[in-house]
C-alpha cells in the first residue's frame, strides 16, 4: 500500500518543522527567502518563509517572528531543538531573494530580495550554521520542497525548470 506522503505547507511569513517521511514546502517565493535548517541524522527539518530582513523594520504592535530574518531563524532553531535536533548537526539550505521587477527608482524597496538573502546569511553565521547549498537571486519565482530523509531541496520555477540542490 502506498501511504500518502505528508506535506507540511508553510505560508507567507510563516514557519514550521517536519519529520521524515514527511516533506515541507513553501510556494511562490519572490523577493522572500525560503530557508531550511535540518538535522540529517535525526531527519528533522524546519522551513521559514522570510519576507523582510530585520525586525527593527516592524512598525506594528505585534511581531510575527516568522516574517523577519533575524527573528525567524532564532525561532526556527528553538523549534528544532525542542523537536530533538542537535545544534552541531544542523545545516542550512536556502532559495529565493529574487528581484521580480526591474525599476530605475524605488531604492531599497526594490532591493529587498538581495537584502533578505544577506540578512539570512548573517543570522546563520551568528548561529554558526553552515550553508551547504543555495539558489538565490535572479528574476524568477520559486516553489521549494525539502525532504528531510534525503536532505535534498527541490526547486521549481516557471521558466527555468526544476532542480535539486
Amino acid at each position: 500500500m502506498n501511504k500518502l506522503k505528508e506535506v507540511v505547507k508553510v505560508g507567507i511569513a510563516d514557519l514550521n518543522v517536519v519529520r521524515a517521511p514527511g516533506v515541507i514546502r513553501t510556494s511562490g517565493l519572490g523577493s522572500c527567502v525560503g530557508v531550511v535548517i535540518y538535522d540529517q541524522a535525526k531527519q528533522i527539518a524546519g522551513l521559514a518563509h522570510v519576507m523582510l530582513p530585520d525586525s527593527s523594520l516592524s512598525k506594528g504592535k505585534t511581531l510575527n517572528k516568522a516574517k523577519y530574518a533575524d527573528t525567524a531563524i532564532k525561532e526556527l532553531l528553538d523549534l528544532l531543538m525542542k523537536e530533538g535536533a542537535k545544534k552541531y548537526a544542523l545545516r542550512a539550505k536556502m532559495a529565493g531573494g529574487a528581484q521580480m521587477f526591474q525599476f530605475s527608482t524605488g531604492g531599497d524597496m526594490m532591493r529587498i530580495g538581495p537584502r533578505n538573502v544577506e540578512a539570512v546569511k548573517k543570522q546563520l553565521d551568528i548561529f554558526r550554521i553552515p550553508i551547504v547549498a543555495e539558489d538565490v537571486g535572479g528574476k524568477n519565482g520559486r516553489t521549494i520542497e525539502f525532504n528531510p530523509e534525503t536532505g535534498m531541496l527541490n526547486i521549481r520555477t516557471v521558466n527555468k525548470g526544476v532542480k535539486d540542490i
Binding site: G11, I12, A13, G30, L52, G106, I112, N140, G141, T143
Partner: protein, 212 residues
C-alpha cells in the same frame, strides 16, 4: 491599534467606491484600446492575510501575467493588473494584430511584452487619474514593469511597505470582463494596495475621519 482594525463599514464602502471609479475609467480605456465591450464587476474590498490575498489571484503557485505600478504622489501605494497568461496573449493579439504572439511559454516576444506594458500603462494611468480627480489628491503611476511568474512571487512584492505595519492587507479588487467573448470568460484583476499611511489621507480627502 493598527489602522486595519479601525476600519468600519463606511471606510470599506469608500474603498469600494474608489475601486469602482478607478476601474470604471480603466475599463473604458481598455474597451477603446481593444475595440471590445468590457464590463466591470462590483469591486470587493477585503481585509485579508497575505496568503488569502495571493489566493485571490489564483494561488501562490499559479502562473500569472502582471503589470506592477508604483503609485507616487500624495498617497503612495502599489497597483497590480493581473491576468492569466493566455488572456494576455489574446489581448495583445487583438491590440497588435499579430496572432503569433503568445505568453504561454518563454521566450516571450519583445513586441508582446512591450504591448502588454503599454496596456498596463494606459490602464493604470486611467485608473489613477480617475482617483486623483475624485479625491483631489496627486497620484501618479511610475513606469510600469511586467512579469510572468508565480502569483505569490509577484504579489508579495507589493506587500513590502504594508508588511512592516500589519499582518493583514486591505485589497481593493476589481474584475474586468469582456462581454460576449467567444473565448470564455476573459478576466483581469486590479489590485490596489495603498501604503499604510495613505489610507488616512484618502479618507480625509473625502471628508471621513479614520477614527470615526
Amino acid at each position: 491599534m493598527s489602522f486595519v482594525e479601525k476600519l468600519n463599514q463606511v471606510h470599506l464602502d469608500i474603498l469600494k467606491e474608489i475601486g469602482n471609479i478607478g476601474a470604471g475609467n480603466a475599463a473604458t480605456s481598455l474597451s477603446r484600446l481593444l475595440n471590445r465591450k468590457i464590463n466591470l464587476k462590483i469591486p470587493t474590498v477585503q481585509v485579508a492575510t497575505y496568503d488569502e490575498m495571493v489566493e485571490l489571484a489564483g494561488g501562490s503557485d499559479q502562473v500569472v501575467a502582471a503589470v506592477f505600478v508604483r503609485i507616487e504622489g500624495d498617497t503612495p501605494g502599489n497597483m497590480f493588473f493581473v491576468l492569466p497568461p493566455e488572456h494576455v496573449s489574446y489581448f495583445v493579439q487583438v491590440m497588435t494584430g499579430d496572432s503569433s504572439i503568445t505568453f504561454e511559454e518563454p521566450p516571450y516576444s519583445e513586441m508582446g511584452i512591450s504591448a502588454f506594458l503599454e496596456m498596463g500603462n494606459i490602464l493604470s494611468g486611467s485608473y489613477l487619474s480617475a482617483l486623483s480627480d475624485f479625491t483631489s489628491l496627486n497620484m501618479q503611476p511610475s513606469v510600469p514593469s511586467a512579469s510572468i511568474d508565480m502569483a505569490g512571487a509577484i504579489l508579495t512584492m507589493g506587500l513590502i511597505e504594508l508588511s512592516q505595519v500589519s499582518d493583514y492587507v486591505i485589497v481593493i479588487d476589481t474584475i474586468l470582463e469582456e462581454e460576449n467573448s467567444d473565448r470564455g470568460e476573459i478576466k483581469g484583476h486590479f489590485f490596489l494596495l495603498p501604503d499604510p499611511d495613505s489610507f488616512e489621507k484618502i479618507f480625509k480627502a473625502l471628508g471621513v475621519n479614520i477614527d470615526e
